[in-house]
């Protein structure tokens, strides 16, 4: 195995990292800014995947499905925020955990009622199907390159939003000192709504673009949720930048762990998290 093999494995890791970032960024926003431990974040990812499955089938066009599905996801998030989360902002984390855990069960059951327990597949859009040959024996799926591109675009947009807009300024301020932001006259209620909508939108979008490379089934949200929490904790709660580098680190660690230490592949990521926490207890890019 020559260096191209490791290069391709690095591509695999980075690509997985991008996908993790997309999910984890929404989680870290909601967690860091609103102070909500949102266990239901993985469920929103799953809702996104099911929306992609449903809408891509109904419209016959994957991209149209995503375009229709993201707003549906955001509206769903806003409704849930108004009906449920709004009562939890000043409660302790245990109640939030209970509520969001309940959301996982309710959303899971609704999905089973609507689409059944079967495993579904979403086909890769025709224009992105196929693979590019990298070497004589290695080929890379075009759609995975597209996922990376979409994630880079989203990450760039998100960083620009956080750094250069008024909303971003309020989000950053709120992440470091919420009471002060409230005292300065910012309508935290509306800010929370915007952040939650953004978070759910990101999770749903990630679920949608991941649907063609994932199988769509009722437990898919649980797996991604745990990895996203690892990313958020490693990167530092509330920091978008932290989520990005955390996701890259975890994506690469997961991939190279699988290559070099196949026996311990499941442990590598968590060992890395433990190391980071010993070194920097509040994560690599702690917001506060």
């Amino acid at each position: 195995m020559d260096y191209t093999y490791y290069l391709i494995q690095a591509m695999n890791g980075i690509q997985y990292g991008f996908l993790l970032f997309l999910v984890a960024s929404g989680l870290t926003l909601v967690f860091g800014i609103m102070g909500i431990v949102n266990l239901a974040h993985g469920a929103f990812y799953m809702v996104g995947a099911y929306l992609a499955y449903w809408l891509a089938g109904a419209t016959g066009n994957f991209f149209l499905g995503v375009a229709v599905g993201v707003p549906i996801g955001v509206v769903l998030g806003l409704v849930i925020e108004r009906l449920g989360f709004v009562h939890l902002y000043h409660r302790d984390h245990l109640l939030q955990v209970l509520f969001t855990f309940g959301m996982i069960l309710v959303i899971g059951e609704l999905i089973t009622i609507l689409w059944g327990d079967d495993v579904h597949g979403v086909s890769v859009p025709a224009m992105l199907a196929g693979s590019v040959a990298l070497t004589d024996t290695q080929a890379y799926p075009v759609y995975r390159l597209f996922i990376s591109a979409a994630c880079i675009a989203t990450a760039g947009g998100l960083l620009a939003l956080i750094r250069y807009t008024r909303l971003g300024m309020m989000i950053r301020a709120s992440a470091s000192n919420r009471e002060m932001v409230e005292l300065m006259g910012v309508d935290v209620n509306r800010l929370n709504m915007a952040v939650f909508g953004l978070g759910v939108g990101l999770a749903a979008f990630a679920g949608m673009i991941a649907a063609p490379v994932n199988s769509v089934h009722p437990t898919m949200g649980d797996d991604i949720l745990i990895m996203s929490f690892v990313v958020v904790v490693v990167g530092g709660v509330g920091s978008i930048q932290g989520a990005f580098w955390g996701a890259m680190l975890i994506g690469l660690a997961d991939t190279f762990g699988a290559v070099f230490l196949p026996e311990a592949a499941g442990v590598v990521v968590y060992a890395l998290m433990a190391l980071v926490l010993v070194w920097r207890p509040s994560g690599l890019f702690a917001a506060r």
Binding site: T112, G121, T137, V213, G266
Partner: protein, 396 residues
């Protein structure tokens, strides 16, 4: 259907147990009225394997209806418990059926981990138990018992014949890939046994943590190793994703893919072209062209509105086996010796073809070689006839 009582909640079960306790003083059945038996389904009705549990139950009921809703003249009452395919809950669930509900027969289950927790308890209590799916080798090896039967397969059985198939196709170097759990290792083990005995070489064995389905790094590995073929066991969501990722990584059509039949069961609708040409071995195929299979598929479809599959066949055969046993004893479940002897000697006419039981109570059956063509299962032939599990460690 008449005579079915479902048990949706723990409270209802307790209520039932209380009612049963008050009636405990009454004779089992009055003279002149037909005997009654109580069958308990312990199957997954929620979670990933819910579809399997439902197909097994519905096909069992379909066979019951064909038999006039009686087994050997006995009226049958049903209880069902959702085992959620959760091994930690298995002991509670089986105890509930055997001790509180006092069922005469247990039908269960799908998950190999759950069945291994059930087996010691039903062995101890002596309750007749028929396993309609779980392939754990031990059930008809070390854990075998006079009252424990299996109508499905052993993991070894479904994989062992494939070693010769791969060798005959001219492949000498193979990469194995599966999840790192009991069923995965048993499936790969069965294949490895015959493949290496015939001169094949296992280049690498890749075991992923269950139920991890991020395969990309391993597929890059496979492409770098360039084996003659890949032998894979995954099922359900993992199988669907593996087949799709395998094709997306450019390996489809380059390195042939083999596996036990579960790799392609129930996923062909979701994978499109990516499954074309995958060869698998299994004790059944929907494509089997025998009259009973055609009749069964049609009857299952009209009774449930769903397509039948290998799991439904196993549920159907479970009812047949039980009926054969009870017919020999006129529905008297307490005549255990004659009942078990009749079940051991039974010829089961199944949609998979006629089979009989081994001494260890596992089917002796043909294993078919199947290939995916145009999104459908096709039968290439019989990979091995009358395959019998070695039943190592069983003293029956």
């Amino acid at each position: 259907m008449s005579g079915i009582r479902f048990t949706p909640s723990r409270r209802a079960v307790l209520g039932g147990a209380a009612a049963a306790a008050t009636m405990a003083g009454l004779p089992r059945f009055a003279i002149g009225s037909p005997p009654r038996i109580k069958v308990g389904f312990m199957l997954p009705y929620s979670g990933t394997y819910a579809k399997l549990g439902n197909n097994i139950t519905d096909a069992f009921m379909l066979r019951m209806a064909e038999l006039g809703d009686t087994l050997g003249g006995a009226e049958v009452e049903f209880v069902r418990v959702d085992d959620e395919s959760a091994p930690p809950k298995a002991v509670d669930n089986i105890t509930e059926l055997v001790l509180k509900e006092e069922v005469d027969v247990v039908v269960g289950t799908v998950h190999s981990g759950v069945v291994q927790a059930m087996a010691p308890i039903v062995r101890e209590e002596g309750t007749l138990t028929i396993v309609p799916n779980a392939g754990a080798n031990r059930i008809t090896r070390e854990l075998c018992a006079p009252n424990l039967f299996r109508t499905s397969f052993s993991s070894w059985q479904a994989n062992y014949p494939c070693g010769d198939v791969v060798l005959k196709d001219g492949h000498k170097k193979v990469v194995l890939i599966s999840w790192n759990y009991a069923a995965g290792k048993e499936m790969l083990g069965g294949f490895t046994e015959s493949f290496t005995a015939g001169g094949g070489e296992i280049v690498k064995e890749i075991l992923l943590d269950f139920p991890n389905d991020e395969f990309q790094a391993y597929l890059t590995d496979i492409a770098a190793l360039q084996p003659d073929a890949v032998y894979a066991f995954f099922s359900g969501g993992g199988a669907l994703k593996f087949i799709k990722d395998y094709a997306a990584a450019g390996l489809h059509g380059q390195i042939p893919l083999y596996g036990p039949g579960f790799l392609t069961e129930g996923v062909l609708g979701g994978v499109g072209d990516a499954a074309e040409g995958i060869k698998t071995t299994l004790h059944y195929s929907v494509a089997l062209d025998n009259p009973l299979n055609l009749k069964f598929r049609e009857a299952f479809q009209s009774a449930t509105g769903r397509e039948s599959d290998v799991f439904a066949v196993q549920g159907y055969d479970t009812a047949t086996l039980l009926a054969k046993g009870l017919e020999a004893v006129q529905g008297d479940i307490s005549a255990k010796r004659d009942l078990y002897a009749a079940m051991e000697a039974a010829e089961i006419e199944s949609p998979r073809g006629t089979f009989r039981m081994s001494k260890a109570h596992n089917p002796i059956q043909d294993i078919y070689l199947r290939e995916v063509r145009n999104g459908q299962d096709h039968i290439l032939g019989v990979a091995a006839e009358d395959v019998e599990d070695p039943a190592t460690g069983c003293s029956l």
